[in-house]
Symmetry: C2
Subunit: 218 residues, 2 copies
């Protein structure tokens, strides 16, 4: 049960299967194809290969899920990605909308030493700039406090933003323009069928539901 060296594509497949597994129990070819920006036929081909390598379990027409080894590798890639995002934000002054793309390219090429060094330099952080948990060195996912989407708040409630569930550059850009950030306080003013009214630093905005449900609070 040795860890084989994988191509960047293969690492990306595993990473995306892992992320989709967090939502759906089993992952479809179509769903994967959409997330990877690739045709479903190409996914089938790669999945068959990963199945032979025993990194995924694959039932034709049914879907895939990761094996234990596959999950370990996915978590390693995810650890690289999220450590890099935080490093880019904190040490290279990248803005919220810039960190994802750079981390996406770097995650496949940094060494174990690089990973260990930036982790140490940042005091072994547990969450990245989006509030996503960073798997630990031994690939355990740190547990986050239980969170709710912002639109579930009752009128008058105040809460702290803990996670923003998007990598879309333009959404992140918009949110940061509203001074919305991880660990910021917000207050629910009210809601109607168009969205929710939130108070952020004495300013008040109407946030459409499509955005509000990306914002998870505590």
């Amino acid at each position: 049960m040795d860890k084989p060296r994988l191509s960047e594509s293969q690492e990306d497949y595993l990473k995306h299967i892992f992320k989709l597994s967090e939502i759906h129990d089993t992952v479809s070819m179509q769903h994967l194809a959409k997330n990877l920006g690739v045709r479903p036929a190409s996914v089938t081909g790669m999945i068959k290969k990963l199945n032979k390598m025993e990194l995924v379990e694959y039932k034709p027409y049914k879907g895939v899920h990761l094996t234990d080894i596959g999950e370990k590798i996915a978590l390693e890639v995810l650890r690289h990605h999220r450590l890099l995002e935080l490093y880019l934000a904190d040490h290279l002054h990248y803005s919220w909308d810039e960190i994802h793309d750079e981390a996406e390219r770097l995650e496949h090429v940094i060494s174990e030493k690089f990973e260990a060094t930036i982790s140490e330099l940042m005091g072994h952080p547990t969450h990245d700039p989006h509030g996503d948990p960073i798997p630990s060195v031994d690939l355990e996912i740190p547990d986050s406090p239980d969170l709710n989407p912002a639109h579930a708040l009752e009128n008058g409630d105040t809460a702290t933003i803990r996670r923003v569930m998007t990598q879309d550059k333009d959404i992140l850009n918009l949110l940061s323009r509203l001074d919305l950030c991880i660990d910021c306080e917000i207050e629910m003013i009210g809601s109607d069928n168009t969205g929710v009214r939130l108070k952020i630093n004495d300013n008040q905005y109407l946030i459409p539901y499509s955005l509000a449900k990306l914002i998870w609070v505590h």
Copy 2:
């Protein structure tokens, strides 16, 4: 004459052609093959492609040299590499023998923003940890003072180490064990047919010619 997007392989070819051009006027297939760790036949194939792209000038059986555009691209890669080496050494505490391999992988994937950020953070440095010049933003090579190999010193001369002409991990490891580093002072004690005797920080060593000629001083 637009800059096309190149594969990592192609960037590596251009970089190696550039480096070999510094020594030999025209670069042979064999020489390139050895440096790239690839068979000569493969080099011929790639060179023909780069020739079509007008990044190299290629005369069959005669050799290659870079076109102006090819050289610009080579210098860009070299700038990435050397900025990264310095960044890894100064900010991530990498040792002399560790920086090259990591930079080799990172140089192809970092963005212009990454490049600009670390350059700024380091005060737009002109030389990397081996003393190699870092091409500037507009891809000019900063001129280094004229240097001589250490074995050319006269007895009793003192000099400052400005450049170490190797990327070999074990050589670098050995040299740093002798407290030999860029901008360090050395004194020539004497030389015979086995090598040169140098004084470094009150310690005195016999350095074989094969090593001494890698050490360039001022």
